[in-house]
């Protein structure tokens, strides 16, 4: 019964794999819920900030911060690439990189060079393999990313922009559409894309402490950081959702494999029994 035994050990090993994938699926599901909550929690801050910034921009039209300046001709653009730290999440990262490659190709055709800033080990690994000038990186943000872990990387990009080493900053990350769908998107961060202009019925202005420029400067930096933070949190939710779906299909596949192997095992066992009986019977007939 050598065949049957082999099949039996195989079934056992697939069963233990299935247990792991099932556990990962459940862990991802609960982590996804928490990531979604974090996503929602980060929204009011950015929204409030945007309100203040757009007010400031209108109230002090003589001062144009470089982040809000009109587009300058582009020679080099920066991409902040947000990826996951871990694999086993389906095509999440590959899809994002593919989208990014298409974008780079388009920019190349226009004579624009890319520079990168990576968040997450997968993006770092990607540029490690394929080269590319990576200005800064941050990895191992965990399930609960903090803004302070991103300050440095964002700062590097903003400094490069101010020194005119790069002429625009984009952020590439996954957008959470729903549990089943995550969409890779590339959005422009700097120069800020002007939002819709609301009319100001009454002209009023703030009292600034110490002055409007300083206030606007620190607001803008924080605003951009909060956008990056949002993208990181959203990408985290995407990662968990993608992992959940991937692990669910892995568990399903394991289930299918097991039922197929079970059939093979039963057949092998039956064959062995039949063989034994026929041996006994023919032995008895010979006597």
């Amino acid at each position: 019964m050598a065949g049957a035994k082999e099949v039996r050990t195989k079934i056992a090993s697939i069963k233990s794999t299935q247990k792991i994938t099932k556990a990962m699926q459940m862990v991802a599901a609960s982590k996804m819920r928490r990531a979604q909550e974090r996503m929602a929690a980060s929204k009011p801050y950015a929204q409030k900030m945007l309100e203040v910034i757009s007010h400031l921009a209108r109230a002090t039209p003589e001062y144009r911060h470089s982040f809000m300046a009109v587009e300058r001709s582009r020679k080099r653009v920066g991409y902040i690439v947000v990826s996951s730290d871990r694999g086993l999440c389906g095509g999440l990262n590959s899809n994002l990189f593919r989208r990014l490659i298409a974008e780079i190709k388009e920019q190349r055709a226009l004579g624009v060079d890319p520079a990168f800033c990576t968040i997450g080990t997968k993006a770092l690994g990607f540029f490690k393999r394929f080269g590319g000038s990576v200005l800064a990186q941050a990895t191992h943000l965990g399930d609960k990313p903090h803004v302070e872990e991103l300050i440095g990387t964002v700062r590097v990009m903003l400094d490069a922009f101010e020194e005119k080493k790069i002429d625009a900053i984009y952020i590439a990350s996954n957008e959470f559409v729903n549990t089943m769908t995550q969409k890779p998107v590339i959005r422009q961060l700097v120069p800020l894309v002007p939002g819709e202009r609301q009319s100001m019925p009454l002209h009023w202005d703030y009292i600034y402490e110490p002055d409007a420029h300083t206030v606007l400067d620190s607001l803008l930096t924080r605003y951009i950081e909060s956008l990056v933070y949002q993208a990181v949190v959203e990408n985290g939710a995407c990662e968990q959702a993608a992992r959940m779906v991937a692990m669910k299909s892995a568990s399903d596949n394991a289930g299918n494999l097991i039922s197929e192997l079970q059939l093979v095992y039963n057949k092998a066992r039956q064959a062995a029994i039949t063989q034994e009986i026929s041996e006994i019977v023919s032995g008895a007939a010979a006597v």
């Binding site: 903090h146 803004v147 300050i151 990387t153």
Partner: protein, 140 residues
Amino acid sequence: MATIQVDIVSAEGAIHSGIASMVYASAELGEVGIAPRHTAFISRLRPGDVRVENEAGEQEHFYVSGGMLEVQPMAVTVLADTAIRAHDLDEAAALEAKRRAEDALAGQTAEFEYAKAQSELAEAIAQLRAIEKMRKMRRG
């Protein structure tokens, strides 16, 4: 008694939201007290306490490590930082991020190998598609 809406938010989530009769915070140029119908005012905050006094005269304390204070006649918004910020601290963080990138990518070509990346990704995507197809065939 006049009251004012107070919201304390940080990038990582809302910290407090409620109605108050008085708000105290340590602004960049000194401690400020905001009463209802205060004129529009905006300032950077120093690390310290934000005290919110409700109508009963009870005070609630919130520690912020800096941020922005925005005041409008009927609302106070504190945009709190989640970390201590200072120019040189930010600079240090930036240098650290740069160094990490240099360490991780030591000896790498700065030129992005477009063709290689595309072919490898195409392979990965093709694998995923093949798996998808196999699964459908098995079900169908």
